[in-house]
């Protein structure tokens, strides 16, 4: 390796470091401003608390186990509703994609319901299912169902017909038809649909918990709001963001790896 190329790679490394560092620049500045504003004592404690207090509250909630309980409850509801919604959504979407009769029967109804935001269904579900667990799981299910169903439907419709015909001409065994053609062309769009479902489901669940719940992250925030505990609210806001971020990134990671295996 010549000196020049070593110098170049060092420069490249520095460039990468600089790019990483600058990602943190403005958040750090904001944090600093937040600290300073709290120092001046311009805002009362009910309006703004310093980052240190938020961290302390986080620690307190964690040590008392309250936070884990809320988080666990929320994640449990999300997981159950999401799994049910995804299973139903894939079944429904594939059914609609495969059968013309099913498509004709259900697609107008499906498209009409799809237009209504999930949040608008919260009052209706509360009246039907009460404010207990069932209602939250059903609302998550509803939110998760539609993006996945739509993605599965589009994916099945999008299987290249010419390839299917070629496979039929060559009398490819069904096993290979599925593994070489059907799965590779349907799994990636369905996974993307699932990621969208998960994000939507999380948003709707937080809204449902804000509105009516006895536990969960949303309820913790709503309680904090009513008690003017801005530190609790902030812990909740940050945590909802982190959970949403982790879920989305996790899905992206799974998507990348699964898709790589398949192709």
């Amino acid at each position: 390796m010549s000196t020049q190329s070593i110098a170049f790679s060092a420069w490249q490394y520095q460039g990468r470091l600089w790019r990483k560092a600058r990602l943190w620049f403005s958040p750090l500045v904001l944090l600093l401003i937040w600290f300073q504003v709290c120092r001046t004592g311009f805002f009362p404690e009910q309006i703004l608390v310093s980052p240190g207090v938020v961290l302390e509250t986080f620690r307190e909630l964690w040590v008392s186990g309250e936070l884990q309980e809320h988080l666990g409850k929320s994640l449990y509801r999300l997981a159950l509703g999401f799994v049910l919604g995804v299973v139903l959504g894939i079944t429904f979407g594939v059914g609609m994609g495969l059968s013309k009769t099913v498509e004709r029967l259900f697609s107008p109804f499906f498209n009409a319901i799809r237009q209504v935001p999930s949040i608008a269904f919260i009052p209706m579900f509360i009246l039907i299912f009460g404010v207990e667990e069932t209602f939250k799981i059903v609302i998550v299910l509803k939110a998760a169902f539609f993006p996945v169903a739509l993605a599965a439907y589009d994916a099945v419709k999008g299987i290249p017909q010419r390839f299917v015909e070629v496979a039929k001409v060559y009398r490819l065994p069904t096993r290979h038809l599925v593994s070489k053609l059907v799965l590779p062309s349907t799994v990636p769009p369905i996974l993307t649909g699932m990621r969208l479902s998960l994000t939507r489901a999380w948003i709707v669940l937080v809204a449902a918990e804000l509105l009516a719940a006895d536990s969960g992250l949303g309820q913790m925030m709503e309680m904090g709001r009513q008690m003017f505990r801005i530190d609790v609210v902030m812990v909740g806001v940050i945590l909802t963001g982190v959970v949403g971020f982790v879920l989305d990134r996790g899905c992206q990671w799974i998507e990348r790896h699964l898709v790589r295996w398949n192709t």
Partner: protein
Amino acid sequence: MMKPARRIFGLLTGLAVPLLCVGAWELASRQSAAHAWAFVPVNEVWRSFWALLNNGDLALNFLASLRSMLTGLILGSLLGIAVGALMGVSRIANILIGPLYHMVRQVPLMGWMPLMGLWFGTGTFSKNLMVVVAVFYPMVLHTYEGIRNAEKHHLEVAQVFCFTRWQTFVQVSLLDALPSIFTGFLNALAFAWVATVGSELLFGTGAGLGSLMLIAQSASEMEVVIVCIVAIGVTGCLMNYGIGRIRKWLLGWRYM
């Protein structure tokens, strides 16, 4: 073109499932008084719809929601385009704003509500702010990407003609970004409507379809809730359709 007989048949099969659902609903409502409480009879929904229409409640709340949405849509779009364009044009702005934007965006919109309620109260300002934020996100993203993906050739032409930076920005970058900005607007419209209904539902103050629904829910008037859901759905549909037409009309020249 399909034959008329086939089209009618297609329409009928499409209506079969919704009618079946309504039938099942009606059947459920006739089981017992307890069932009729949750599954209100269909004709009662119909009657409540006419009542709400005649006494002006529906129009009043609908217009309030629409106004809240439009306010948020206009302010959020302008703000989003401005910030997105700034990020697209200036590297420094991108470094400063980009990470913050992506960080804040991770929090689900409804998650901000308790904080906004504490800071700004539960009145009109908070509700409008929620819609502005909901519109702001997609507008920034699409404006930024539109400007970043502007045709290089167009920028070169601008350079040849010695355009000033401002001229290049307005006449090349922004124009090239228009379709992307419009896509963003289309997304933003859906988000704005969700945010409007959601904020009304969660704050529960003032007029609006969401507030009407919340009040109806606490009074367990399922028929009013259903009328609201249908109104929200139909409005969403119409807006989507309308903006699609406008998009075709405005940007049709690009695809010629």
